[in-house]
C-alpha cells in the first residue's frame, strides 16, 4: 500500500439482484477473488487479485457477473501512459524484470489486416467448394531435384522425408510443463483426427502420448529436456528450436515449482529443480554447428524424418533462413514477434523481433532468388488468428502455418495473459491437478477439430472464390493479394500491389 499501491485494473461487477449466492465463482477462481461474507450475507470480490480470465463470468448460472476495465485514471498524458507509470512502480518495489505471458499486445501494425484478397469475376469462373473437389493437402519437406526411372521407364517415387497434412495448419510448440497434460492430450488427439501435427515443445513427450507419434513433432531445444532415442524415433519430425518469436535471443525458465511428478520425469530432471533453457544452444555458435546438429539428428533417426529448424523473425531473417536452407534442414519454421509464450520478459516480448508477414515475404523471396526454395518448406507462426491469416500467409509464400494461441483459445483460454502465474483457471497453463481436470480432453480435442474444420471450410471458400481448387496454386500467388493503406516500401517488401493497381 501507499507508495507501492497499484489500483486494480479490473472491477468485478456483480448484479446483486441476480446473484443467488451459489458460490460457484468462489470455487472456480484460483486467484481467490470471490468469497462469501457471512456478515454481509452476500458474495464479495477482491478485484486486486482478478486477472480477467472470465472463468467466474462464464460459469455464473445467473449471468450476475461481468468484468469491466476500471475508469480509475492517472492524469492524462500522451507520453506517460498509466501502464508505463505502473511498470515503474512495480520495478521500484521489486527490482525485478517484468514478466508477461502470451504474445505482444502492443499496437504495432498488423499487416494481415492490411491485405485484401482477390476473387473471380467474368473472365474466369469461381468454383463452388460444395460441388467440386477443393484440395488443401500439403507436403512439407525438400522436393527431389531429379526424377529416377526403373528400367521400363516408369518413375520411381523416391520421396524425401516429408510430412503430409490434410490442411496447411499445425499446432505449434507448447511444452508439457508450460501447458497441462490434458491440454497436450487434446492437441495430440485433435492432430490425429485432423491429419495434421502437434508439437511437443521442449519439455519432452509424456509416455502416454507415444501412441500419437505419427502426428507428433518433437522438439530439441537448448536445454535438451526429455530428448532420448525413443523420443526421436516416435516422432514424425524433429524440430530444433533456435528461437521463439515472443522472446528472440533469450532462453526459457520453467520454475521448479512446476517441475513436479510427470513433468519432472518427462523432462528427465529432478523434481523441484528449475528447468533452464540456455539462450543459445551451447553446441551451436554458428551455422556450421547447426548443420552438425541437423545431421546428428538425421543420423540418429536413419535419415527417415524431416528436420525442422525454428527461428524467431529477426531483422536479418532472410539471410539466416538461407543459411538454414543450406544446412540440411528440411523445413524452416519462422515465429513472428506476436507469437505467444508461457512467460517472457516484457521488454523482450514487446520490443524484439519483426512481424511475421514481412519476415515471411522476405524469406520466401530470398530463397527463390537463390534458387533454393525447393530445398525447404516454410512454416510460419506468431500470430495466425484465423483462416484468413492462414490464407494470406500461404499466398505470401508459406507452405503451412503454426497456430499456438488460437488453439489455446479453442481450449478455453481467455487470453488473460497470466500463464506465468501457473493458476490457469481453464486448466491449460497450470500443473495444479484440481485446475488441470477442468479441461476435458474429449471436449478439448473436439473443439480443436471443430475450429480447424471450420477454418478449412473457409479456406476452401476463399480459394473457390478466386478460381483456385488446389492449395499449391495459392502458394506464393501474391498476385491474389493487394495492400491497403501501406507505404511503397511495405508493399515492396511484401511483394504485393496496392489495392486499385
Amino acid at each position: 500500500m501507499g507508495i507501492a499501491y497499484i489500483y486494480p485494473p479490473y472491477e468485478v461487477v456483480r448484479n446483486k439482484d441476480r446473484c443467488i449466492g451459489c458460490r460457484v465463482c468462489e470455487r472456480q477462481c484460483a486467484n481467490e477473488v470471490h468469497h462469501y461474507s457471512e456478515e454481509a450475507g452476500c458474495m464479495m470480490a477482491d478485484e486486486s487479485k482478478c486477472v480477467n480470465c472470465h472463468r467466474c463470468v462464464s460459469l455464473c448460472p445467473t449471468r450476475a457477473l461481468k468484468i469491466v476495465k476500471t475508469d480509475h485514471t492517472f492524469k492524462e498524458n500522451a507520453n506517460w501512459s498509466g501502464k508505463a507509470i505502473q511498470e515503474i512502480y512495480r520495478q521500484a518495489s521489486t527490482g525485478g524484470v517484468l514478466l508477461s505471458s502470451m504474445g505482444n499486445p502492443e499496437p504495432y501494425p498488423i499487416y494481415f489486416d492490411k491485405i485484401l484478397l482477390n476473387a473471380s469475376q467474368v473472365t474466369n469462373p469461381s468454383i463452388d467448394p460444395l460441388r467440386e473437389p477443393m484440395e488443401t493437402r500439403v507436403f512439407l519437406g525438400k522436393k527431389p531435384k531429379q526424377i529416377k526411372r526403373d528400367k521400363n521407364g516408369n518413375i520411381l517415387p523416391q520421396n524425401t522425408p516429408h510430412l503430409e497434412l490434410s490442411m496447411p495448419v499445425m499446432f505449434s510448440a507448447m511444452s508439457y510443463g508450460s501447458i497441462s497434460y490434458n491440454a497436450h492430450e487434446s492437441l495430440a488427439r485433435a492432430a490425429r483426427e485432423l491429419g495434421i501435427y502437434y508439437n511437443t515443445g521442449e519439455g519432452g513427450l509424456h509416455e502416454d502420448f507415444y501412441q500419437y507419434g505419427a502426428n507428433t513433432i518433437v522438439q530439441v531445444a537448448s536445454g535438451r529436456f526429455g530428448v532420448h532415442s525413443d523420443y526421436l524415433d516416435t516422432a514424425a519430425a524433429i524440430e530444433i528450436k533456435m528461437g521463439q518469436g515472443a522472446k528472440p535471443g533469450i532462453g526459457g525458465h520453467l520454475p521448479g515449482t512446476k517441475i513436479v511428478g510427470d513433468v519432472s520425469r518427462t523432462r528427465m530432471i529432478p523434481e523441484g529443480s528449475d528447468a533452464i533453457s540456455p539462450a543459445p544452444h551451447h553446441d551451436i555458435y554458428s551455422i556450421e554447428d547447426l548443420r552438425q546438429l541437423v545431421y546428428s539428428l538425421k543420423e540418429a533417426t536413419n535419415y527417415e524424418k524431416p528436420v525442422i529448424v525454428k527461428i524467431a523473425a529477426v531483422h536479418n531473417v532472410s539471410a539466416i533462413a538461407s543459411g538454414i536452407a543450406r544446412s540440411g534442414a528440411d523445413i524452416i519454421a519462422i515465429d513472428g514477434y506476436r507469437g505467444g509464450t508461457g512467460a517472457a520478459p516484457t521488454r523482450i516480448r514487446d520490443n524484439v523481433g519483426i512481424p511475421i508477414e514481412l519476415a515471411l515475404a522476405s524469406v520466401d523471396k530470398r530463397l527463390r532468388d537463390e534458387g533454393i526454395r525447393d530445398d525447404v518448406s516454410i512454416v510460419v507462426g506468431g500470430s495466425i488468428r484465423s483462416s484468413a491469416d492462414v490464407f494470406k500467409a500461404i499466398a505470401l509464400g508459406a507452405d503451412c502455418c503454426y497456430i499456438g494461441t488460437a488453439s489455446l483459445l479453442a481450449l478455453g483460454c481467455h487470453l488473460c495473459r497470466s500463464c506465468h502465474e501457473g493458476k490457469c483457471n481453464w486448466g491449460i497453463a497450470t500443473q495444479r491437478p484440481d485446475l488441470v481436470k477442468r479441461l476435458n480432453p474429449d471436449i478439448g480435442s473436439q473443439r480443436l477439430v471443430n475450429m480447424l474444420t471450420a477454418w478449412n471450410h473457409e479456406i476452401k471458400e476463399m480459394m473457390g472464390g478466386m478460381g483456385i481448387n488446389s492449395i499449391e496454386s495459392l502458394k506464393g500467388n501474391r498476385l491474389m493479394l493487394r495492400g491497403i493503406g501501406m507505404t511503397e516500401k511495405e508493399l515492396e517488401i511484401l511483394g504485393i500491389k496496392h489495392a486499385g493497381e
Binding site: 473437389p133 518413375i155 517415387p157 525447393d374 483456385i468 506464393g476
Partner: protein, 370 residues
Amino acid sequence: MLKEGQVRIPSGCAISGIFCKSGKRMSGEAIIESIRIMHDRSNGLGGGFAAYGIYPEYKDYYAFHVFYDNHEAKKDCESFLERHFDIINLSKIPTRKIPQITDEPLIWRYFVTPLHTKLAESQLDEDEFVVKCVFRVNTEINGAYVFSSGKDMGVFKAVGFPEDVGRFYRLEEYEGYCFTAHGRYPTNTPGWWGGAHPFALLDCSVVHNGEISSYDANRRAIEMYGYKCTLQTDTEVIAYIYDYLKRKIGLTELEIASVIAAPFWQTIERMPKEQRQRAEYLRNVFAGQLITGPFSILVGFDGGLMALNDRLKLRSMVIGEKDDMVYMASEECAIRIIQPELDRVWSPRGGEAVIVTLDEAAKAAYQSRA
C-alpha cells in the same frame, strides 16, 4: 499505356490445331479457315499461328523469328547473333500488305546454329544455349523480340483478327504437317505484336484459351529455374512449365499433363497402388507446376501435338479425327468447316490429355529428309 509484360492482361480466346499423323504436308489455308469461323471469339487484338515441318531445307538450324521496333534494335540484335551464332541465312519474313493489319514492326527470320567455340565455352547443351540467348535478346536488347526459336517450325503472329494475320503472313504459301492457331480476346491491350499468341520457346509452342488462377504461383516457381516471364501472360508461363518439365526434368507428354492438370486426390486414392504412388509423387514434387483455373491449350512440339483442358474442364475443347488427320479446336464448327465428314468427334474430359504424334514412318522420313 503500359506495354504487355509491364502489366498483366487477362484474355479469352479461340484456338484450333490440325495435325497429320502420316506427316503429309498441307498448306496453311485450312487453319486460317478454321480459326476464321470462330471470329467472334477474338476481338482483333491478337492472332497467330504455329507451323511445324515448314523449313525442310533448314531443318537442322534454329529458325529465329524476330520483331524489331527500329533499325537500331535490328543492328544490336544482329551483332549479338553474330557473336553467338553462325547465321546460315537471313531474310525479311514475306508479308502481304492488307488494310486490316497496320503498324507492323520489322519482321526478320534467321536460320542459325550456335558457334562451336561459344557453345563449348558456355558448358551448356545446344538447346539451353539457345534459350539463354533468346532470353538475353528479349530482356536486354531494347526493341528486339525473338518470338520463335525452334527447328523446322515457326510462329507467325500479329495484332489483328487471326484470319487477317494468316493472310498478312501469306501462310497459305507454307506447307507443314501441323498447324495451330490462336485468336485473342484480351480485356484490354496495348496492342503489342509480341503479346499475341502462340508463345514459343525452341520447338514448343503454346496456344491457350483461358485465364489461369495459379498464374503467380506458377510464375514465381518457374522463375526460380532461370526462366524470365517478360510478358506476364498465362501462355508464356505454360510454355516455360512445359519446357522445364520436358527438357530439364525429362517427363513425357502424358506425365507433363498429369502435373499441370493433376488428377484430384480423390481420383488418386482410387488408383492401383503403384500408379497411386507415382501420381502422389508427381503432385508433391511438382506442386509449383500445377495449373488451376480455366484453360484449354494446344502444345505443339517436334513431331507432335497435345491438347489439354484444366481439370474441371472450364473451357471448351473438341477433337475430331478423319483418317490420318486430327483436328483440335475450341468449337466443333472450326473443325467441320474444314472437314465436314469426321470418323470421330469427342470432347476430352478435364485433365485428359490428347496427344498425337507422327507415325514411325513419317518420323523417320522427317528425320532423314534433306
